[in-house]
């Protein structure tokens, strides 16, 4: 079982949607990680990552510089970053990686950062919490299993991996090779099984949620149609909940179901929970502690099954 006290400390990069729309994800991440020996410390003054779809589409140089500013804040703390959103992972991890390996980009970014008395050094690493939970060097499924007091027995849970944590896999550098499989990964299913729940496979599991690339803002019906296809595939296999590791995907599936009801006249009432929220429930946190009442789609039917 876990040793007492924190074995690992990280600067906790929050992003936008977790703290400002699903604050339960933020509190769940802090509390559940603490039980697993990971302390998440505030990264003061961090901003939007910035949104890779919106900023990357307009001017990649601005995207590099803005992400670099967030990285420098963590460098000043002399701490690696942990975060809980795939979109943030794309900006923060990928810009860190690009700047470390491309001198021309690094020089360009530092020229701008000089104006605000900052310098990007490339001295830290960036991790997604899902990656830390899966990697036995930090936690691992076994330790996750040992930490739970309320197994989610009998719940059928499907996983939405999202895109930007693992894709494009040719550019990613996970220690565990199974995380580089973007056609049919099962590592998240292992984490779901560690909570006592039954992981459920479904058709076209790796398809995008439809929100990214600015498409949600550009053409909401198109965006929701992609989400709807995933919901149809989920309905086909019958699940009690969908779990994700990205608050933006969560927004698209959760609030998106309400929009789909309005625009397409179909309802699914499928509860959508971030893996940190699920882990919180399994570790004995109450739905109130997790802010599950803030979700667009009621989690009640699922909660009745597992509590």
């Amino acid at each position: 079982m876990a040793e007492s006290g924190a074995n690992h400390k990280f600067a906790f990069y929050l992003g936008c949607i977790a703290p400002n729309r699903y604050p339960g994800c933020e509190s769940a991440a802090i509390k559940t990680c603490k039980k697993l020996g990971i302390e998440l410390l505030p990264l003061k003054g961090a901003s939007c990552c910035p949104a890779p779809g919106a900023f990357g589409s307009i001017d990649l140089n601005v995207w590099y510089a803005m992400a670099a500013r967030n990285l420098v804040l963590a460098e000043q703390m002399k701490m690696d970053i942990a975060l809980l959103c795939n979109g943030c992972y794309k900006s923060i991890w990928e810009v860190n990686h690009k700047l470390k390996h491309n001198k021309d980009l690094r020089d360009g970014v530092n020229e701008v950062l000089k104006e605000i008395d900052m310098e990007y050094k490339g001295s830290i690493n960036v991790y997604h919490i899902a990656e830390l939970l899966y990697n036995p060097k930090y936690v691992g499924p076994e330790k996750v299993r040992d930490s739970i007091t309320n197994p989610l027995t009998g719940a059928r849970i499907a996983v939405h991996y999202g895109c930007h944590l693992t894709k494009p896999h040719k550019e990613r550098e996970f220690e565990d090779e199974v995380m580089l499989n973007t056609e049919h990964p099962v590592w998240m299913e292992e984490l779901v099984a560690a909570l006592g729940a039954t992981p459920v496979e479904y058709r076209n599991k790796m398809q995008c949620c439809g929100a990214g690339g600015g498409v949600r803002g550009y053409d909401i019906v198109h965006s929701l149609d992609i989400t709807n296809e995933k919901l149809i595939n989920l309905k086909e296999v019958g699940v009690d909940a969908l779990t994700d590791i990205c608050p933006f995907c969560q927004l698209q599936f959760d609030r998106g179901q309400i929009e789909i009801q309005e625009k397409f006249g179909v309802s699914y009432n499928l509860p959508v929970l971030h893996y940190c929220e699920l882990l919180g429930l399994a570790q004995g946190m109450s739905p109130q502690d997790l802010g599950l009442d803030l979700h667009g789609i009621s989690c009640e039917p699922f909660l009745q099954k597992v509590l």
Binding site: N20, S47, C208
Partner: protein
């Protein structure tokens, strides 16, 4: 190695004849796409794996393979003025599956960058810029959420630029350096009055 028939000059001439060049082709377009995207766009052999992997393709006329071809042929106007350019969700499925190790997603991103230089950009992208300029967040906090955060034992505002607004100035300096805020304001005003 396969031997070519005839002399190198003859071969070169033959290849030149085979190249499909239209009056509106701009050879710099491919160069610009490659330098911004940092991917080998010219290696595309049009197999269509990208379009076959694309979640936007089945529900629209967006064909990423078409944009790859436009890059190779230098069809700049055709690519940058096509509204389908903005239907890529950047899921990177095409990039993961491309047998030539090209990143078609990054080609699309580079084309969007080039389109923005001509003021071609959907307004929602600019609104995100404006939100970040004023608050540091693309999706800012609100009162309902502040109350919810308090109930969860969190600070009313997260310890980001929301709690430490003194950091916003640095963000504004970066955005002003690239004249992004001024351009965003100008384009939004032109569109919305």
């Amino acid at each position: 190695m396969a031997r070519t028939k005839g002399y190198p000059e003859a071969l070169e001439k033959k290849l030149r004849d085979q190249r499909y060049v239209r009056e509106d082709s701009n050879p710099d377009f491919l160069k610009n796409v490659k330098s911004i995207s940092r991917t080998i766009a010219h290696m595309c052999y049009q197999c269509g794996t990208c379009t076959g992997s694309c979640p936007s393709a089945p529900r629209s006329s967006y064909r990423i393979r078409n944009f790859m071809r436009r890059a190779v042929l230098g069809l700049e106007n055709e690519a940058l003025t096509d509204p389908d350019l903005w239907l890529c969700t950047t899921c990177y499925s095409c990039t993961d599956r491309c047998p030539r190790d090209i990143a078609p997603t990054d080609v699309i991103m580079s084309m969007r960058n080039l389109a923005f230089k001509r003021d071609i950009v959907p307004v929602n992208f600019l609104k995100t810029v404006q939100a970040i300029y004023s608050s540091g967040h693309g999706v800012p906090n609100n009162d309902v959420n502040r109350a919810a955060r308090e109930k969860l034992g969190l600070t009313r505002d997260p310890p980001t630029t929301h709690m430490y607004p003194e950091y916003i100035k640095g963000i504004q300096t970066i955005l002003n350096h690239y004249k992004l805020k001024a351009n965003a304001d100008r384009i939004v005003k032109e569109r919305e009055g």
